[in-house]
């Protein structure tokens, strides 16, 4: 029987992790995502599914616990908010370099620095352009509802293991703190040791006589060999761009103008579309669901019949660069957004489209 519940985004993440058969969560509290670990501690999954929940001594410890867990082929995750995610960047590049799957949730707050505790989307560059050193990418999913907070945990794990790459859920304080209706998926059992050994032959599960040792590392002293390895990584990212792009269109069919917005900004823009449609302005919304890989092809295709695009994000203008790269110079692309923890109102977005794109 379907059970509809009212949950916070952060609570949904926690319960979805248990239900999708995660083996471990390692984290350190920070507003606005502390409910993730609080919920896990309250649900005590170690007594039911056997999932480990551990409060580490820091974010740096958490991400390195993920490295250890993922190296053993386990489904491991952490969550934090912007300053904590910055601390994890070294660990993330090592995970990407060692081709380890894991899930990292960033419930973004206003930056830079310790910043504010209110919602922001100013960690886009950090999430999609690397964040740590080296040529690597994270798979980045951007939920815009509490239901998607729940659904994307399982999706992120599936993609992380499919590509042996860290996946990030890039959310923000608004989606994390708000409550909406959620329908949870049924429990998926945790992998047994045999299943891990069979599904993930690369994992360090103990050396049988039948094969050589498995080594989890990101170091290679021979530059030529490391270039070959980097080629392999790049091929993987290309495959993601070909096969994993996800987005949602909202009234795009007859649109003259387009909003591009993800996460909570996409929710705000839906209201702006309704207001503008009420005034007779033909405007649509393209909502990227994967931020890497980015729906560049779709945006380019739509731009052929558009008069202008407004990229809306709670930042000083980050995703707008990718929108511009997708479009080239074919149509006008501008950015609008409040930032530092301030949420723009649907009316402000309407105003920005009228002034920067239609009138500009």
């Amino acid at each position: 029987m379907r059970e509809i519940r009212l949950m916070k985004g952060n609570e949904a993440i926690a319960e979805a992790a248990i239900r999708c058969g995660a083996d471990g969560y390692f984290g350190y509290p920070i507003t606005p995502q502390s409910e993730v670990m609080e919920t896990l501690m309250a649900l005590k999954p170690w007594e039911t599914t056997g999932m480990v929940v551990l409060q580490a001594e820091s974010e740096i410890a958490s991400i390195n616990m993920l490295y250890g867990g993922a190296g053993c082929g386990k489904k491991v995750m952490t969550s934090s908010s912007s300053p904590g995610i910055s601390l994890m960047q070294e660990g993330l590049t090592y995970l990407a370099g060692a081709e380890l799957p894991c899930v990292v949730v960033n419930v973004v707050r206003g930056g830079p620095g310790l910043g504010t505790i209110q919602p922001a989307q100013s960690d886009y560059f950090q999430a999609v352009k690397g964040g740590g050193h080296g040529d690597y990418k994270l798979i980045v999913l951007a939920p815009s509802s509490v239901q998607e907070m729940a659904d994307f945990v399982e999706l992120a794990f599936d993609l992380a293991f499919k590509y042996r790459n860290p996946a990030m859920i890039l959310s923000d304080g608004m989606i994390g703190q708000m409550m909406e209706k959620v329908e949870m998926k049924p429990y998926r059992p945790r992998w047994t040791s045999e299943e891990i050994a069979n599904l993930h032959p690369w994992a360090t599960t103990g050396k049988p006589k039948s094969r050589e040792r498995n080594i989890i590392t990101s170091v290679e002293l021979d530059a030529n060999a490391f270039e070959v390895f980097n080629h392999k990584l790049q091929k993987k990212y290309q495959q993601m761009e070909e096969e994993e792009v996800r987005f949602e269109e909202f009234q795009c069919d007859d649109a003259d103008y387009l909003f591009v917005a993800y996460g909570s900004s996409a929710r705000i823009c839906q209201k702006s579309v309704q207001i503008l449609r009420g005034k007779g302005v033909k405007v649509g919304l393209l909502r990227p669901i994967t931020l890497f890989p980015f729906p560049s092809k779709k945006i380019a295709e739509l731009s052929n019949r558009l008069k202008g695009i407004l990229s809306v994000e709670m930042s000083a203008g980050q995703m707008v660069e990718d929108v511009k790269l997708a479009v080239g110079c074919k149509v006008k692309v501008e950015h609008f957004g409040r930032y530092g923890g301030v949420i723009h109102s649907p009316e402000e977005v309407v105003d920005a489209l009228e002034k920067k794109i239609i009138g500009g």
Partner: protein, 182 residues
């Protein structure tokens, strides 16, 4: 039906839980709902507010600037949110501690002296349920049955013996709310 509500007052008045019960009542009535709290420094400093949207279609922005209804429970919130009621909308307030009463003529203003009534009923904690009852009298968007089901869902089971007390408070709220004619 699309009702956009802000509930604003002091921390401890039950602002967030009243919003949660209202949202759960909407769930029970098979409607779409969202509940978006203030969780920033203003909450740590004492004032709290929550935006609740109940709708029969998919909800767009959970964060708003203008509301169909503002439920205002202290002076700071009156100063902040009286201007945020849409023309023709509703402002419901508790007169306790209000020094500057609502001025607007283009909205409907209702008053419920819930704090006073809760004190008289010797049940201070049901203050927010009296306010909820007053709201439901003005805007009967969910049935009383669904409100009670929503209440049951939002209260932990160990508090379920308090359900009748809360129901009485909600009913009392429907009885003592008055339209203010200016």
């Amino acid at each position: 039906m699309n009702e956009e509500i802000i509930i604003a007052g002091f921390g401890g008045q039950g602002v967030l839980s009243m919003g949660k019960i209202l949202a759960y009542s909407g769930v029970m009535q098979d409607m779409e709902v969202s509940w978006m709290p203030s969780y920033g420094p203003e909450m740590r400093g004492g004032t709290a507010n929550v935006t609740v949207i109940i709708s029969d279609s998919r909800i767009s922005s959970p964060s708003l600037k203008m509301y169909d209804t503002a439920i205002i429970l202290n002076q700071q919130s009156m100063d902040k949110f009286e201007k945020s009621v849409k023309p023709g909308g509703v402002l419901l307030y508790d007169g306790n501690g209000i020094t500057r009463h609502p001025q607007r003529k283009d909205i409907k203003v209702y008053r419920v002296d819930a704090a006073e009534e809760a004190a008289r009923m010797q049940s201070l904690k049901t203050f927010n349920m009296i306010v909820l009852g007053a709201y439901l009298k003005v805007k009967p968007i969910v049935t009383m049955e669904n409100v009670m089901n929503g209440l049951k869902k939002s209260l932990p089971e160990r508090h379920h013996h308090m359900l009748p007390v809360n129901q009485n408070a909600i009913i009392r709220g429907t009885e003592i709310v008055n339209e203010v004619t200016g």
